[in-house]
């Protein structure tokens, strides 16, 4: 699946997107964040404030508890500050 990053998360990771293949044990968005943090120290540092991270699956806003099975694109980003 493809992962998109936005705003300061994108900056801290120094990439806007990447292609990943998480193992079957990675069930939810929260699991995915844990798995990504486990492979990459920079990622673990960037998502230190884990509860702040918001997510979307295939351009639909979801919670971190949402299952990622069948997802094409998962987006991870900080709280939104538009308007």
């Amino acid at each position: 699946m493809k992962i998109l990053y936005f705003a300061w998360l994108r900056e801290r990771l120094n990439r806007g997107e990447e292609e990943v293949s998480p193992p079957p044990a990675v069930v939810t968005v929260a699991d995915l964040i844990d798995w990504l943090a486990g492979r990459d120290e920079a990622f673990a540092h960037a998502v230190e404030k884990r509860a702040l991270i918001k997510a979307a699956i295939d351009a639909k806003l979801v919670t971190q508890a949402a299952p990622i099975a069948g997802a094409g694109v998962v987006a991870l980003f900080p709280p939104m500050t538009g308007g």
Partner: protein
């Protein structure tokens, strides 16, 4: 419903006139325009908005649908820009149409409160001391929560 997410500058007055010209005597139209702020004690030279356009369109459509049902709006338009903007430039415009002013005002306020926390835009300010990401504010969450 008209939802637009764009980098191009828009003309707030022309947008309002177009909105009103299709109002068919509805009675009440409310408009909110958000512009890039630069205060003398906290000047900025540029505001850059990052956006996830596909999600922004989905979110704004959902917010407009919710507002339309809740306040019985006849019509609502949201225009939101992203990219790099200068102080004084319009960022966002919300327009609502209803038979009476109360619903038009409330609908516009609801749309702004929701889009501030639920639409995927991220602001970055550039000023004399460099560039920084604008932090999400607790009062924006509180403003949204009062509609729950």
């Amino acid at each position: 419903m008209d939802v637009r997410v764009q980098t191009e500058r828009f003309d707030p007055g022309a947008e309002l006139n177009a909105f009103l010209s299709a109002s068919n005597g509805a009675g009440a139209a409310a408009t909110f325009t958000g512009v890039v702020r630069s205060k003398p004690d906290d000047p900025i030279t540029a505001l850059t908005l990052e956006c996830y356009p596909e999600l922004a369109i989905n979110q704004l459509k959902a917010i407009v649908t919710e507002a339309t049902g809740r306040f019985d709006l006849l019509r609502a338009t949201v225009i939101h820009r992203y990219g790099t903007l200068a102080p004084g430039e319009p960022i966002v415009q919300v327009m609502t149409l209803s038979p009476h002013r109360d619903a038009a005002f409330k609908g516009a306020e609801f749309l702004m409160d929701y889009l501030k926390t639920d639409a995927p835009f991220w602001k970055q300010e550039t000023g004399p001391n460099g560039t920084h990401w604008v932090e999400a504010k607790a009062e924006d969450d509180a403003a949204k929560a009062r509609w729950a």
